[in-house]
Every structure is written in structure tokens, then in C-alpha cells.
């Protein structure tokens, strides 16, 4: 909350910093007085009453003032210093480091992902491992996969889709309904659910062919909400808010993960523990996510992948060069939806219960923010963003020590989405192009050249 920079060349203008901090404090006080200074609570007679929280208000206003001073005394001088010391253009050392990172990071991450369950069991033992593999491993990989799926639509084809969760929902409900009604197995329904999702992707893609940018985003948001509202209201089929429960779980080539005699543990002569199912599910989602990444990497080298990237850069130029933009857009929507459908049917199989609550707009925004924060079009970036955002927010559940600081009533998980929203804004301001912002050209003449960051920033997305 600082005022426009007409700052002196070097050093800190103390008077200005204090003035900024005062103004910031006053504004914070004005905004937070009704929202934090007072709390509306229901009293005994079920009427609303007010309670005051002067100390909380004082703490918040104090924090804002401190943040303003921090910006004036630390961030701004540091920025000036950096600009003065290092002129435009990246240093050679940084480039070498980045090249090494690009070369070694993917194998390393892959290795960690493959050996993650072993690692977890080694560290926490059999009893504690389920939580870490399920809540962290599987959860993060679902979002990595969704991120990579949406990355095809948003990152490669440049079509901002705010309703991606609809295809996730179509996949989940397809699996749940078909498995419950016809008793088909997970392995048959997984491709089927994907195809149904892709069908919906193309179907919803048709009407929005003419749109782009903000309007496209809002229409896809509307489609996502329509599908969710239909799931809520079409009670005969979807049982509405109640959701669908006891969805059949996937089996290991026909062997169920149960404690029965024909269960996985008994067949292989092992002691029964729910851990086997979790590990199995972990590898299924890992395989699905890697399939998404592999297909995307290969598609980028095909004419259709090149057409997507051309479309992202300039639609009019694309059309004048004879690229069929209709097909290009529809395949992007369709393939993106296909992977969303895979992820959805996996989600239904893993949870055993689905309801429209899992497919709200917030979920779409979360997947989109993972793609955007990771750097649109960058697969590694998306994976890192999913790890940081989902892992970070899941980590909030584990922060029990905060209860000792803030009191027993403190529940860190309710700040999950708050931090998510804040992170979206902050990363947009700090790095509008996402964490990994170098855009690699996939088509090049004779030799590969990296695109300088300053050109990347100029792109219109």
C-alpha cells in the first residue's frame, strides 16, 4: 500500500516512508474496522449481536503498517540496488545453473515420484504411511494431472478455460454411474469416462469457437456451473447434494483389495493392510499423470501441437496462414477434457463417494491457478506449482503447533483457500509469467535458441 514511486535515486526517504505507512495504516483501519473490529454472532435468542475484537484489529493494522515500512525500507532499495548493479540481460552463471536444472530436474523428480511410497514407508513405517501417500502423494498427483490436462487448453492453445472442473465431474460421474449400474470394471470405464469427457469437451467447445480472452473464460465458467447445477438438481440420476456413495473400488487385475480370502493380501500371502490399495492407487495416478505428460510432449511435436502454439500467439496470423482454427481449438478442448475425465474417474474410484460439492468453481480456479503459477505451457512448472500449492495447503493440516500459539480453537485448514487466493495475486504481481517463465520454442531453424525473458514478458498470452 505505497503511493506512486517518484522516489529519489538512492537511499530511503524517511519522511515519505512514514507518510506512506500512516496512510496505509489509516486505510487498513477503515477497511478492517467493520470486518475484523466487530464480529457478528448469534446470541441465545438466535438474534445477531456484535462482539468487539479491538486487539485483533490493532494487530492487523500494525501488520499493515509494518508491511508498508518493510516495502519502503527493504524492498524498494533492494530493487533499486539490483537494477543498478545488474543491467538488463541475464548473467552467464545463472544461465549455466538454469541449464543444469533443466537437464537434471526431470529425472530427479521422476525418481522421487516413483520411489515416494518406499521412501514414506521407510521413514514413517507401515502405520503412518497411508496418510502421507494418500493425502500428499495421490492428492498432489491428481492436481498435477489436472494441471497438465488444463495446460493443453490454457498453456498450449491459449484458451482460458474457467470451467475445467466440469470435465473432471463428467469423468467422475460417468465412472460412478456406469460402475454402479452395469458393474463394469475400473479398467474398462477409465477410457470410457475419458472419451465421454472428451465428447463433452468438443460439444462445449463448438459454441465458444468465436470467443477468446475474457469472454471465453466467462462462458466456460458458465458451462462449468451449469453442469454442476444440473448434477445438483437432477436428483433421479445423480441423487443431488447427497451424492453417490459406495462406488466400486478398482481392483488389481481382478483381485480386489479386501480382507477376504480372494483379496489382494490373501492371494499374495501377505498380511492385510489398507496400505496396498493406497500404494496401488498411487501408482495408477502416477502412470496416468505421466501418460498425460508424455502425450503432451509428443503432441507438441506434431502439426496439431504446433498449431496450438501458433493459435496461442496470434489467432489472426494463424488463420491467414491456412490453419484450421476450428479443428485446432476443438482438439485442444477435447484432449484437455479427456485427461480431465481420466482424473475424474480416478478420483471417483479413489474416494468411493462423490457429490457436486467436489466440483465447484473454486476447484476450477485452483487448477487454473496451478497452471498459471507454474508458467503456462511449462510442464515442470505446473508440477512444481501443484506440489507447492496442494502440498503446502495439505501441510496446513499438520501444523498442530500453531494451536499452541493461537489457542485451541485455531484451525489452520480454514485458511487454505485464503492463502490460495493471496498466492494467486502475489505471484501474478511478482512473476506474471509464472514460476518457470521461459517459453521454449518447439520449432526452430538449425539450432535451438532460447527466447530472452524480456521478449517472453511482452507476449500477449
Amino acid at each position: 500500500m505505497t503511493l506512486q514511486a517518484s522516489a529519489p535515486k538512492t537511499g530511503v526517504n524517511v519522511a515519505r516512508a512514514i507518510r506512506d505507512a500512516t496512510i496505509a495504516g489509516l486505510i487498513a483501519f477503515g477497511i478492517l474496522l467493520p470486518l475484523i473490529g466487530f464480529e457478528t454472532v448469534q446470541n441465545m435468542r438466535n438474534e445477531l449481536a456484535l462482539e468487539t475484537r479491538p486487539w485483533l484489529l490493532a494487530i492487523f493494522v500494525g501488520l499493515v503498517v509494518l508491511a508498508s515500512l518493510f516495502i519502503s525500507f527493504v524492498v524498494r532499495p533492494w530493487n533499486q540496488h539490483r537494477r543498478a548493479v545488474r543491467p538488463a540481460g541475464a548473467s552467464l552463471k545463472g544461465a549455466a545453473l538454469r541449464a543444469a536444472f533443466a537437464k537434471w530436474f526431470t529425472p530427479f523428480a521422476l525418481g522421487v515420484a516413483v520411489f515416494y511410497p518406499v521412501l514414506v514407508i521407510w521413514i514413517t513405517g507401515f502405520s503412518g504411511a497411508v496418510k502421507w501417500i494418500d493425502n500428499f502423494g495421490i492428492q498432489i498427483l491428481i492436481y498435477v494431472m489436472l494441471g497438465w490436462g488444463l495446460n493443453i487448453v490454457v498453456g498450449l492453445a491459449g484458451l482460458l478455460d474457467l470451467g475445467y472442473v466440469a470435465f473432471y465431474a463428467v469423468g467422475a460421474y460417468s465412472y460412478a454411474l456406469l460402475a454402479k449400474t452395469f458393474g463394469l470394471s475400473f479398467w474398462i470405464l477409465l477410457p470410457l469416462a475419458g472419451i465421454l469427457s472428451a465428447f463433452w469437451g468438443v460439444l462445449l467447445g463448438f459454441p465458444v469457437l468465436r470467443l477468446r480472452g475474457d469472454y471465453l473464460a466467462i462462458v466456460t465458467l458458465a458451462f462449468g456451473e451449469i453442469i454442476r447445477l444440473v448434477l445438483i438438481n437432477w436428483v433421479d440420476v445423480t441423487s443431488g447434494y447427497a451424492g453417490i456413495s459406495s462406488i466400486p473400488r478398482p481392483t488389481f487385475f481382478g483381485i480386489p483389495f479386501t480382507a477376504n480370502e480372494d483379496g489382494f493380501a490373501a492371494v499374495f500371502g501377505l498380511e492385510f493392510t489398507p496400505l496396498y490399495r493406497t500404494i496401488f492407487l498411487y501408482y495408477v495416478i502416477l502412470a496416468l499423470a505421466l501418460l498425460t505428460a508424455f502425450v503432451t510432449v509428443r503432441l507438441r511435436r506434431l502439426p496439431i501441437g504446433r498449431a496450438w502454439e501458433a493459435l496461442r500467439e496470434d489467432e489472426i496470423a494463424c488463420r491467414s496462414l491456412g490453419i484450421n482454427t476450428t479443428n485446432t481449438k476443438l482438439t485442444a478442448f477435447g484432449i484437455g477434457a479427456l485427461f480431465g475425465g481420466f482424473a475424474g474417474s480416478f478420483f471417483a474410484a479413489r474416494q468411493g463417494f462423490i457429490s457436486p460439492e467436489s466440483f465447484t468453481f473454486t476447484e476450477s480456479a485452483m487448477i487454473l491457478s496451478i497452471v498459471v503459477l507454474g508458467g503456462m505451457g511449462s510442464q515442470i512448472g505446473v508440477a512444481i506449482a501443484a506440489l507447492a500449492m496442494i502440498g503446502g495447503t495439505e501441510m496446513l493440516r499438520e501444523l498442530d503447533f500453531l494451536k499452541q500459539i493461537f489457542g485451541a480453537g485455531f484451525d489452520p485448514t480454514q485458511y487454505r483457500m485464503l492463502l490460495f487466493g493471496l498466492a494467486m495475486v502475489l505471484i501474478m504481481i511478482w512473476k506474471p509469467r509464472g514460476l518457470i517463465s521461459t517459453r521454449e520454442p518447439t520449432a526452430f531453424l538449425k539450432e535451438r535458441k532460447t527466447v530472452a525473458a524480456k521478449f517472453v514478458e511482452e507476449g500477449r498470452g
Binding site: G30, N233, G461
Partner: protein, 305 residues
């Protein structure tokens, strides 16, 4: 027929609220070409500000004059909400001006999620209800036991909306701020060369939009008597639909669009199904954006290479 008239009355009331919110969307889109996704949540914040102010006035200060308290609530709501919107623009949108095109939209989505969850954490997740302000109704028609009524609340909503729209219309057409706004809308670079402070004009646009959203928020609280942290999303989308339907960038269009959306919603609920009323709103949004993107009163956008 009676049902129809009653629904039209209800629809105009609801439509006034949507129209007031829609002006905020349409002005911001007109001037910087972004969908201010957080505007619906700014409206939600304003309902909470109004709620807290109403409770302070009623329980602590014991003010019994309804008109005085309504006036104070409106004033406080407008000031605080404007401040919120000004701050959001300053922190989340201004640094992104000149960045790639989708950056402000994504930042706005983040801000919307932040505001919603901030209010949830600060004020609790439960619905907050207050006793209704004005209970009295006027019966304007009666046939076969069915009464067509016009409540005092509805009259007040109409009157306040009409008054503020007139004031707002005066600002946009007659003052130098309004001229600066229209200049920035047409050509920001040229306007700044001619001495218009573009940053300030854009800030003022956000402030005015938020002030009108605060009026809508107060009316919403008065009309329904219940607010919740999640009340920003759907009314926000409906108001955005209204803005697009009326022609985005056009202020009279936003009001007309708001009234239309309000009437469509009430008539749909009365004659078809209550469950699918939001589906209807989203369908209208999609249909309008796809087939009539320039809206009723907007100018068609010609893209130049």
C-alpha cells in the same frame, strides 16, 4: 395476470440491485478492458459492512428512525466499500497494467477467492440474518383472493436506485471526472498526453463502481434480511450477465440489462422451476456472449491487425 404483475414488480426490484452492481463491471471493462472478477465479492463485503453498521445503530446507539439509519448505513457502506475497491485496484490490478492480457483477470480471480475466504474467516461461515426493516405493504390489486402487493422496501429500493443513478449520471456526463473517464475509455495514451491523470481516473472508476455496489449491498440486506460470505459469486455473475446483455461499456445498457435479468429470473422462478433459476441465468450469459457479444446497446468490436 396478477401473478405476472407481481413478478414484474419483484423483478424490477431485483433488477435494480443487479443493475447497480452491473455498472461497476461495465465501467471497469469500458475503461481498462478487464472483467473485474472480484466485483461480486466487493458487493458481498458491502453487505457485511451494512450488516455491522445496522447492528451498531440498532443495538448500541438505539437509533429508532429508520430513514436516518438507512442513510447512515448507505453512507458508511459506500465509504468503506469504495476504500476496499480502491485498495484492491491499487494492490492487485495496477501493478499488472501493461502485463500480458490475462494477468489482471487471474489476479482478480485470486482476489475474489481471497475476499470470500477472508470474510468467511473473519465473520464465520453461517448465514447472518436480521429482522426485516419495513414490513408494511401496499395492496395495489386484488382479484379472487390473490393480492398484488408493493412493499415499502421495494418502493425504497426503487427510489434510492433512481436517485443514485441520476446523481451518477450527472457525474459521468457533466463533471470533469466523467469527461476524463470517457477520454480514457477512448484512448488512454492520448488522454494522458492531454493532461488527464489516467491512474487517478481509473482509481475513481473503481471507487464509483464500488460505491454503487455498496448501495446494492445495502438494498440486498434490506430486501432479503440475510447475508452470507458466499453471496458474492452468483449475484456477481448475474450482474456481469446484465452488463454484457446491455452492452458492455454502456452504462444505460447495464441498468437495462439488470432490469431484464431481474425480470427473467423472477418470471422463470414463477412459471418454470425455482431449482433451475441459476441455470437459466448462466444459460442467458452463455447465449448472450456467444450470439450477441456486443449486447443491446454496445458497439460491435472490430478487431484490427
Amino acid at each position: 395476470m396478477e401473478v405476472f404483475i407481481q413478478q414484474i414488480i419483484n423483478g424490477i426490484t431485483l433488477g435494480s440491485i443487479y443493475g447497480l452492481i452491473a455498472i461497476g463491471y461495465t465501467m471497469v471493462f469500458g475503461i481498462i478492458g478487464m472483467v473485474n472478477f472480484a466485483h461480486g465479492d466487493v458487493f458481498m463485503v458491502s453487505t457485511f459492512v451494512a450488516l455491522v453498521t445496522a447492528l451498531i445503530l440498532a443495538t448500541w446507539l438505539g437509533i429508532s428512525s429508520i430513514f436516518l439509519s438507512l442513510f447512515v448505513i448507505l453512507l458508511v457502506g459506500m465509504v468503506v466499500t469504495s476504500l476496499v475497491s480502491w485498495t484492491i485496484e491499487r494492490l492487485a490490478y495496477r501493478p499488472l497494467r501493461g502485463s500480458f492480457r490475462l494477468a489482471p483477470l487471474i489476479s482478480a480471480i485470486g482476489m475474489s477467492i481471497f475476499l470470500m475466504n477472508f470474510v468467511q474467516v473473519a465473520q464465520g461461515p453461517r448465514n447472518k440474518s436480521i429482522p426485516p426493516f419495513f414490513q408494511n405493504v401496499i395492496v395495489i390489486m386484488e382479484r379472487e383472493g390473490y393480492q398484488v402487493t408493493l412493499s415499502y422496501r421495494q418502493i425504497i429500493i426503487w427510489a434510492v436506485t433512481a436517485t443514485l443513478l441520476t446523481a451518477f449520471w450527472y457525474i459521468v456526463t457533466k463533471t470533469s471526472l466523467g469527461r476524463a473517464q470517457r477520454a480514457c475509455e477512448q484512448d488512454q495514451k492520448m488522454a494522458s498526453l492531454l493532461g488527464v491523470d489516467v491512474d487517478r481516473t481509473i482509481s475513481m472508476t473503481f471507487v464509483i463502481g464500488a460505491a454503487l455496489a455498496a448501495v446494492a449491498g445495502t438494498m440486498y440486506l434490506m430486501y432479503y434480511g440475510v447475508v452470507s460470505f458466499s453471496d458474492g459469486f452468483v449475484p456477481g455473475i448475474k450482474a456481469f450477465t446484465a452488463a454484457v446483455l446491455g452492452g458492455i461499456g454502456s452504462i444505460p445498457g447495464a441498468v437495462i440489462g439488470g432490469l431484464l435479468i431481474g425480470m427473467i429470473e423472477t418470471l422463470w422462478s414463477a412459471y418454470f422451476s425455482l431449482d433451475y433459476k441459476d441455470v437459466a441465468a448462466f444459460c442467458i450469459l452463455a447465449i448472450v456472449l456467444i450470439f450477441l457479444p456486443q449486447g443491446l446497446l454496445g458497439r460491435p468490436e472490430v478487431e484490427k491487425v
